[in-house]
């Protein structure tokens, strides 16, 4: 235990944790959406995120900003951010919809136990990560540095840089948009209806298949956003980059209460912070172990998560 170290770096660990947690939160939204409506774990969601991370450098290179490019000026940075976001969101949403079509829809009429869906989703996850791995010959892919980290302000003696602000801000912004979409629009009402009672929703004229496809698409878009932020923050990706992040994001979703959108945000941010504190306390190399321990502890003491599970009941 390095208690002293943890106390000395408390605020920098917290800020770093929040940044990482924002990315977890965006990926966790995908798990939560699918679980809230279908009561199934979309195991392939980590690969949806991974494909988004590859889309970002590919899109940037395609418009002439390769690995060593240095974009200058606010205008070009904003433009590149938008290009990356659109590319990642498109790639991730398309992957998520493909997973739904291949691994979920053909089974649904047979109404099998949830274990069967889980196995097809595992199959889809393995196929996606291996296909990408074979395509890029299992090499990592890097992207240019879109934003140079620069200190914006200091809080409790810890500097907060612009990348950290952007990541947390963008994640919260996307999450709020999604929350508004689910709670205020006509399509969002359809989502809540299917989550509450699929049969009754179908009788009221809600197209269930279309809503489910849309759920996967929304989860994919959120994962795309997470992918862009990940590439801005980390700068390089690999074919198996999704796996660990996916498990952690799932842990975050369970922590906040799976099926609950605001829970996913809270769970993600909290997991990021707890993980960083854990790393500070017992050493950096155990950072990946913290998430699993958190997951097991949550399942033992509060299986419904901090905010409870409710996509259907939110504003019923």
């Amino acid at each position: 235990m390095q208690f002293e170290y943890w106390l000395d770096n408390f605020w920098s660990l917290t800020v770093g944790g929040l940044t990482q947690g924002a990315i977890y939160a965006l990926v966790a939204l995908g798990y939560t959406l699918v679980y809230g409506v279908l009561r199934l774990i979309n195991f392939a969601h980590s690969e949806v995120f991974m494909i988004g991370t590859f889309a970002v450098p590919i899109a940037w290179t395609a418009i002439g900003y390769g690995r060593d490019a240095h974009p200058s000026g606010l205008g070009s940075v904003v433009l590149l951010f938008a290009v990356g976001l659109i590319a990642a969101a498109l790639a991730s949403a398309a992957t998520a919809m493909l997973v739904e079509r291949v691994a979920y829809r053909p089974l649904r009429p047979k109404n099998p136990p949830s274990l069967i869906f889980l196995i097809t989703a595992i199959g889809a996850s393995v196929v996606l990560s291996e296909a990408v791995g074979l395509l890029v010959k299992r090499k990592p892919m890097g992207a240019m540095t879109l934003i140079q980290p620069k200190e914006v302000f200091t809080i409790f003696g810890t500097s907060v840089d612009n990348v950290q602000l952007l990541v947390v801000g963008a994640a919260i912004g996307m999450m709020l948009l999604l929350d508004q979409f689910i709670n205020r629009t006509r399509a969002g009402r359809g989502v809540r209806a299917v989550a509450q009672n699929p049969d009754a929703a179908a009788l009221m004229g809600v197209n269930r298949d279309r809503i489910i496809l849309m759920i996967f698409m929304l989860g994919g878009i959120m994962a795309g956003g997470a992918a862009l932020l990940y590439m801005i923050k980390v700068g390089s990706t690999k074919y198996d980059a999704g796996f660990l992040l996916g498990v952690k994001a799932f842990a975050a979703a369970v922590l906040g209460g799976i099926g609950n959108l605001r829970g996913a945000l809270l769970g993600g941010l909290l997991l990021g912070v707890v993980e960083n504190w854990g790393a500070g306390l017992i050493g950096d190399k155990w950072i990946d172990a913290t998430a699993f321990v958190v997951l097991v502890v949550i399942l033992m003491f509060r299986p419904t998560g901090l905010l409870g599970e409710s996509l259907g009941r939110a504003r019923a």
Binding site: L40, I41, F43, V102, A103, P106, L107, P112, S114, L115, I116, L118, I119, T120, I122, G123, A124, S125, V126, V127, E130, A131, L134, F243, L244, V247, F250, A251, V254, K285, W286, D288, A289, A291, F292, L295, V296, L299, M300, P303
Partner: protein, 380 residues
């Protein structure tokens, strides 16, 4: 197209169940005689030269040993997935605990430096894996089934992390060498080159293949006995409907924990054999993706059916070695089939689950109803 394929597959299943019926119709002495002949055939397999079946590129005995060890893994995982219906994605964790127990208690290089012989290490390994199975199962088996998959996945990764990062104990990726192996020397007359050398030493895999085969047969027999016992019936009830089983007085949690412990013990046993054969253990041997292959072999072959999971293990571990022999090249680059293994079996998982969720060799259930009652059944 699809319906034609389905009809073809139904005919295949009909053919298989026909063979099964004939087998069960044979008089018992005949069945025992055929069974013994088959076992003798399996023991002699490394020395028989069956054209095409033999692998050229890789030493055939080693391939057979590899298949045998993973059949043992499949038998163990089948208890958890096939019989009790618990999806365990971190089975490699138990395998690793078994392997590291042997390495830590047996090797002179380990920090424990107890230097126990292999035969002493194996019971320790089994006990430790059972304990880890119970420790993992205790908090997690109470939660919903689909959460269990993720938690076990986390467990498998946690064990791998400890193996990789816990330098003081496991020496990380550099590993632990000089792991002990069972005693015994080759007697004269088997092979003049081996006489007097260690039976389980590095000179040949034959000793290990025979040992593993014996353990596979013993474990399969034991697994069958458990399946048809009170415990096995409790597992079946839990798998089909846990709530109904609870109402009927089956203590679901207790029996699930048993399934976990027994499955873990078998995983630990296979890990202990693996460690002894490899003679060297490092964190690189326990990639989590291997765990997905474990699940694939049980599910693709036919979970719950011992013949099915054996077929699954053969498909997953023998086929890539065999395909290697054909020396297929694309653009002048030789294809390494083990590279494509995960991709192909991932696809197979989707296809099999969509079209035949019971697997290639589905389990056949004996009707427990008396024949008269079955006739009276009212069609709904």
């Amino acid at each position: 197209m699809m319906s034609k394929l389905r009809a073809l597959d139904n005919r295949r299943l009909g053919f298989l169940s026909g063979i099964g019926d004939r087998w069960h119709a044979l008089p018992k002495p005949w069945r025992i005689a055929f069974g013994l002949a088959f076992v003798v055939f399996l023991f002699a397999l490394p020395r028989i030269n069956i054209p095409f079946f033999r692998t050229v590129e890789t030493d055939f005995t080693t391939v057979l040993w590899t298949v045998a060890i993973y059949v043992l893994v499949a038998v163990g995982l089948n208890v958890v997935i096939g019989l009790a219906g618990l999806l365990d994605l971190g089975y490699i964790g138990f395998f690793a605990v078994g392997a590291y127990s042997v390495a830590l208690f047996g090797s002179p290089q380990s920090v424990l430096a107890t230097k126990y012989p292999w035969l002493v290490c194996v019971p320790i390994a089994i006990a430790l894996t059972m304990l880890s199975g119970v420790l993992l199962g205790w908090p997690t088996l109470r939660v919903r089934g689909d959460y269990l998959a993720i938690v076990t996945l986390g467990f498998g990764e946690l064990i791998r992390l400890i193996a990789e990062k816990g330098d003081a104990l496991t020496n990380g990726p550099r590993g632990i060498a000089e792991i002990p192996y069972p005693p015994g020397k080759w007697p004269a007359g088997v092979n003049s080159e081996w006489t007097g050398l260690d039976m389980f030493g590095p000179v040949t895999s034959l000793g290990w293949y025979w040992l593993t085969l014996v353990l596979v047969i013993v474990c399969m027999w034991a697994a069958r006995r458990i399946e048809h016992s009170r415990v096995g019936r409790a597992w079946l009830a839990i798998r089909e409907d846990e709530d109904a089983a609870e109402i009927m007085g089956v203590q679901a949690f207790r029996f699930k924990l048993w399934a976990f412990a027994i499955g873990a013990a078998l995983g630990g046993l296979s890990g202990a054999i693996f460690a002894g054969k490899q003679n060297f253990m490092s964190s690189g041997s326990f990639e989590l993706m291997t765990s997905i292959l474990f699940v694939a072999m049980v599910v693709i072959g036919g979970s719950g059916n011992l013949a099915g999971v054996t077929l699954g293990a053969i498909l997953v571990w023998y086929l890539p070695f065999k395909l290697q022999d054909f020396n297929i090249t694309i653009d002048g680059e030789r294809i390494n089939f083990t590279e494509y293994r995960l991709l192909l079996f991932g696809l197979a998982l989707i296809v099999i689950m969509t079209f035949r969720p019971q697997g290639l060799l589905p389990k056949r259930y004996r009707s427990s109803q008396p024949p008269a009652a079955a006739k009276e059944e009212v069609p709904v």
